[in-house]
Subunit: 203 residues, 2 copies
Amino acid sequence: MAYRRTAAVQARLDAARGAILRAAIGLLTEHGYAGCSVAAVAGRAGVATGTVYRHFPTKAHLVTEVFREAAGREVAAVGAAIRQPGPVAGRITALIETFAGRAFKSPRLAYALLAEPVDPAVDAERLVFRRAYRDLVAATVADGVATGVLPPQNPDITAAALVGAIAEALVGPLAAGAAEVDTIPSLITFAHRATGATRATHA
Amino acid sequence: MAYRRTAAVQARLDAARGAILRAAIGLLTEHGYAGCSVAAVAGRAGVATGTVYRHFPTKAHLVTEVFREAAGREVAAVGAAIRQPGPVAGRITALIETFAGRAFKSPRLAYALLAEPVDPAVDAERLVFRRAYRDLVAATVADGVATGVLPPQNPDITAAALVGAIAEALVGPLAAGAAEVDTIPSLITFAHRATGATRATHA
DNA sequence: TGAAGTTATGAATCGTAGTTCACTTCTTGG
DNA sequence: CCAAGAAGTGAACTACGATTCATAACTTCA
């Protein structure tokens, strides 16, 4: 044997893999899935198309990982916001502000994660993504129910409905490009009413 | 001139067009967009693939019309339910029962209309579809606000959020195949709370 | 009936990615 | 430096389904 993979080579391989992933995330953020052809990803990463296949068995694997990475960041950001200590109503406010604020900052990405038509393989990942949001919200709602600041309810369904409400209220504006200033405050009011948070609970 | 299109011929043409449309709707209902290749549609309609193109300039046109037709039926059904005379809360209950009931009866179709990845051309139609629902709901909410049974709110945003809530709460179960029995009643409660309908307003 | 014109057909064509692979370039250890 | 093997390359290959088009079958009406 006259060749063995050294740490330096491994590092370079890892770097290349990372570059491919980053390139794909960048394209997804700027142009959605349409911009994510293997050729385009390879070009942006500075490698040949064939090289992509030395790191990902199929395009579906690549795109799935891209989705997971991008979605993970969103969930992490929203999770951090909703896990702040404080009253339940305030945490729900933070959830919506974070979710919507990030969506408006990267509308193309938000659309890609929430709604853009894709490979069915990725669609499954989207369900996971939404469930992650749902679980986050459900935990907070359950917390509120347990401490009595929210009325009894099925936290999972409330959470699913809230996530859907937020997503739907945003998809229109995101597709249109411009958002009504009113959207976020109205959504917050809606969410408080929907969970049963009383006025007294705010602030 | 030795040929002119007669009424009989026109009728046959119309029938063929209708058969193609119906075949496509059937395939969409049973197998989603994946089942809607031009060849499959033609086969089911009993015509050759080329014939499809004598009635629809492109597949996008066909699929768009299919979507519009199928979605129109849903909106019409829900519209009929929500326009029943009676208290606002009851109409919202009817909305959800109709929407969800139909979705559970044709889960594949519901998924196709609500969420399945498709051609961007159709995606635009999906926004129209959702807006139709939104407008339907918004009218009812506005009605409730005007008559004082609902608190002041932006009906458009409430409506968008409600539509999203219902869709999201259903997509999971639809994808999974089985629905929790709890889903519909919980959604109704959620919707009442979310719109601000008081307990007294029910029944 | 037959000439003019229309409609139906489906095999062949086209376009578009994703994927492969023969070849080149690089790395390693003796 | 060199043989063994790995990683990188990108042009060529493929799969797939939409679309076309030369041809056949059919309709009309003088």
